[in-house]
């Protein structure tokens, strides 16, 4: 079925966006990325380490996966805008996963800095995909600022707690005119399926795959869960009922 994910006019046949952090080796990462079917994958920007062996960029290039730089580790709009500009220069892409976090303990987004950074980057021609709180009002403000998608968290980054406030995610989806991508908190395949059943346009995850006992197997599980949840969403689930509804005809 032809049902691409459209972000800023670009089509992706996979609705799973992968992160690359947390995998012990590039070899394991490569196999996990292949199993996930992802076509868009996040990287972080860090100081060049002359001793580093191998490059995640080479891996993504070999596999034909588009790179999505993030601004992980930034606490202010000023820092995030600078990192986004460095990423644009280094990687030749104006797409950015915008992260502006409030503190190390929760890694929750700082809404004021996030919105300020989004406004500046949009004005500078970036395609901005903000990692945001599961707050429908903030999501709306980010969309109004010109973001190409909104990416609310299910629960804190790396927590694996799943979607703690599905009602808010539904509210965001109901009023959004841009793709809503569930970002952060996915623990296992059912969480990804639930995100898609709620109507998310895609799922972005890293930890649940990269720190699984078998990243490659979990990546395949996520690929199937995202596709499965999408199909269920499109098919339309039956209403919940209080009492039974026989599925066999009554006895004559």
């Amino acid at each position: 079925m032809d049902d691409p994910l459209l972000i800023a006019g670009e089509a992706f046949s996979s609705r799973l966006i992968m992160g690359t952090g947390g995998v012990p080796s590039l070899d394991v990462l490569g196999r996990a990325l292949a199993a996930s079917g992802t076509e868009l994958t996040t990287v972080a920007m860090r100081r060049v380490d002359p001793a580093a062996a191998g490059s995640v960029l080479d891996l993504l290039r070999e596999r034909g996966i588009r790179v999505l730089p993030n601004t992980a580790g930034c606490f202010t709009a000023v820092e995030a805008v600078r990192v986004a500009k460095l990423a644009r220069e280094a990687l030749g892409t104006a797409w950015v996963k915008l992260e502006v976090i409030a503190d190390e303990r929760t890694l929750l987004p700082d809404p004021l800095e996030l919105l300020a950074a989004a406004e500046q980057l949009v004005a500078d021609g970036f395609t901005v995909l903000p990692y945001t709180n599961d707050d429908p009002v903030l999501a709306r403000r980010l969309e109004q600022a010109g973001c190409a998608a909104v990416m609310p968290l299910g629960s804190p980054i790396g927590s694996g707690l799943g979607i703690r406030n599905p009602h808010n995610i539904e509210l965001i989806i109901e009023s959004a005119g841009v793709p809503v991508i569930l970002d952060a908190g996915i623990g296992t395949a059912s969480d990804a399926a639930i995100a898609m059943e709620l109507g998310c346009a895609g799922v972005l995850l890293a930890t649940s795959v990269t720190r699984a006992r078998s990243p490659e197997l979990m990546a395949e599980a996520m690929r199937l869960a995202v596709a499965s949840g999408r199909l269920a969403y499109l098919a339309g689930r039956v209403p919940r009922r209080k009492l039974a509804l026989a599925s066999s005809p009554p006895v004559e």
Partner: protein, 66 residues
């Protein structure tokens, strides 16, 4: 001339361009970006960008993350 490259002090006897400062760390042709005192400098003008005493140079690349 004393400058700072990625947080580490660096001494240069002669004039140093940004291209030369980046080359201290990496010879990668792509995937690298540089900033001087917080301002991003496009690769096309690295050669022409002369550093001054006390400049802070940041050289970044993509790593696994997110």
């Amino acid at each position: 001339m004393e400058i700072v490259i990625n947080g580490k002090p660096h001494h240069a006897d002669a004039e140093l361009s940004l291209a030369q400062a980046v080359a201290v760390l990496t010879d990668a042709e792509t995937g690298v970006a540089a900033a001087v005192n917080g301002d991003v400098v496009r690769r096309a003008v690295w050669e022409a960008t002369q550093l001054s005493d006390g400049d802070e140079v940041e050289v970044l690349t993509a790593v696994q993350g997110g």
